[in-house]
Amino acid sequence: MSAPERFLERLNARRENDPSWVAARRQAGAARFAAVGFPTRRDEAWKYTDVRAIAEGDFALAADAEFLAERLAACALELDAHRLVLVDGRFNAELSSLDALPAGVSVTPLSQALEANHEQVGGSLGRLAGVDFSAFTALNTAFADEGAVVRLAPGTVVDKPIYVVLISRANEQAVMSHPRVLIEAGARSEATVIEHYAGESGAANFTNVVTEALLERGAIVNHYKLQEAALGDLHVASIHVDQSRDSRFNSFNLNLGGSLVRTDLVTDLNAEGAEAAYYGLFFLQGRQHVDNHTLVNHNAPRTFSNESYKGILDDRSHGVFNGKVYVKKDAQQIEAYQNNANLLLSDRAEIDTKPELVIYADDVKCSHGATTGQLDEEAVYALRTRGIDVAMARGLLTLAFAGEVMEQVKLNEIAERVERAVAGRLPERFNLADLVETAEAVQEA
């Protein structure tokens, strides 16, 4: 049996109660996936990322969504939020809290949305992420039966973040999940949506998520993807954004966990005044592999994009950054800035970075660049003259390097969480975790 066949076999074992239009989609996804199979390194877009660990794996579908509240508390953000919890891809109602949603906002598990109001969901679902985007979106389309559907009526400003927690458990039999997140932001609405991947440290599951966000005129969406999956987890994600006039999408793609991680982020700026900001951070250790592929399509004049991705790589980790900015013919007076900076903490860590600009308009302001380097020795000296040893000086400067992206994070709980995680996961010799905590205490005092 081929790998695609093996994966699709699990589809037949599913409980069949899909509406017919969903079933048709599943079939289309499955057919596409069967036809293309898993990508190989001969595919240009997967040149640096070998997905055999996924293709050769054996992943069941989770049978339940059980998870103890204490365990959730231990890994979730302490955040006043509207919360939707998925455990290995299954909705857990008890751990979720969606009762206090303000008028004009709905946050619904995908399964319920499909049942209750399939016409409406059907219109948007898959509109941005078709089965031909990649083998993984096809696979997701075949399987997706759970996730989060977020709808904002025009003019609605959501009071608290919408917090989707995706838990991966340490199962005896590894599982796969294919969550689907759909965000429909009506005109001038505003929300913060967090996708937080976390779980038990022994987990070794495969998550294959697809997120679609549609922003109508003037909508503002802050999207956080905080990926703190277990170090054995395999994680593939694609995020697809469609932006109307004067809308703004702020993306924070923060990767700390996972053994094999691939994220595709695609935004279409379709009308004047649309603006996208991409901030990314990846901090890799051991043999972690994280691949970020980003694409901004400037399809209309006077659209704006700004991208800053930072990578910190230790041990024998491998990072990939492929950032493409595409400016359509006649999309004049656009501005597009892109930068990727990487810090290598070990000789054996590796980064492949490729910023790309493809421009078919002539009146544009664009810049792009990539740097990979070591720490500023002048600063190391200055810190040493205060009695700080070389290791800690380097630790502080590494934290500072991450800080330049984290400064953009407006949500304190996430900024602190990541700062602590970076400080705590820095090689022990840096010993910064305690330092960060004190500094926070001083601030709060």
């Binding site: 000296y381 040893d389 500072a400 004190t438």
Partner: protein, 250 residues
């Protein structure tokens, strides 16, 4: 406390210090004056341990220890601290991190434990207030976006928290307005005690009006050519350096 003997230093093959002698006793404040390019910053950089300076002859002892054999951070932990003429910006490293890491390093070297968090918080808040710095500066990156005067105050803040035995302050007065000068001078004066010493590099008498030196030295072309008490500074202010040079040649 500090004993510099016959110090010869070259930078990229060029002789900068050419046989410099200087002795500082506990409790004393010494001022070093001299024309631009004489080697004042070079002297303090060599004592602090900056790379790129080659000591071709002579010795530096601090409390009997051979400074040139010590790592940069060991010198600081031993209580030898340099306030920079041009403090650099360290983007992203919060002041509070620097202060805590530096203080704990010094405490550890003295065999003391880490400072408890509440005590540390109290200390840094107190010292910031003394330097008339808003506590928000503690959360800002070291010197990033600070004005010239704020950078200098920040150097002194570090001194106040770390309480060095010997503080070497390189042109701590440059770029300060009159009020800031007083704040900085008060900070420096609070470091004075019978078992501590201060080495000031300056071009101006006005700093010495606030921080009264016990000894004043004139450094010209890599050597100390004249030393005296505080009246020497006044004389230099009035007459410039030429007469000292002529005197020393004669």
């Amino acid at each position: 406390m500090l004993e510099v003997k016959d110090l010869h230093v070259t930078v990229e093959g060029k002789a900068i210090l050419k046989g410099l002698d200087l002795t500082v006793q506990p409790g004393e404040v010494h001022a070093i004056m001299g024309p631009n390019g004489a080697g004042k910053s070079t002297l303090s950089a060599v004592i602090a341990g900056k790379d790129g300076y080659e000591v071709t002859q002579g010795s530096i002892l601090f409390e009997g220890q051979d400074v040139l054999e010590m790592e940069i951070e060991e010198r600081a932990r031993a209580g030898l601290l340099l306030g920079f003429q041009y403090p650099i910006e360290i983007p992203g490293v919060k002041n509070i991190y620097l202060l805590k890491a530096a203080l704990n390093a010094a405490r550890e070297a003295r065999g003391e434990g880490e400072i408890p968090a509440p005590e540390f918080m109290k200390l840094v808040r107190e010292k910031s207030a003394e330097m008339q710095m808003d506590p928000s500066f503690l959360q800002r990156a070291v010197n990033e976006g600070f004005s010239g005067g704020e950078k200098k105050r920040n150097e002194i803040l570090q001194m106040l928290v770390l309480q060095p035995k010997l503080a070497m302050l390189d042109e701590i007065d440059s770029g300060l307005d009159i009020d800031a000068m007083k704040v900085v001078a008060n900070g420096v004066n609070s470091l004075r005690s019978a078992d501590r010493a201060i080495l000031l590099v300056t071009h101006y008498q006005r700093l010495l009006n606030h921080i009264e030196p016990d000894r004043v030295h004139v450094l010209v072309d890599g050597r100390i050519v004249k030393s005296g008490d505080k009246s020497l500074a006044l004389e230099l202010e009035a007459r410039g350096y030429d007469w000292v040079l002529e005197e020393s040649v004669a």
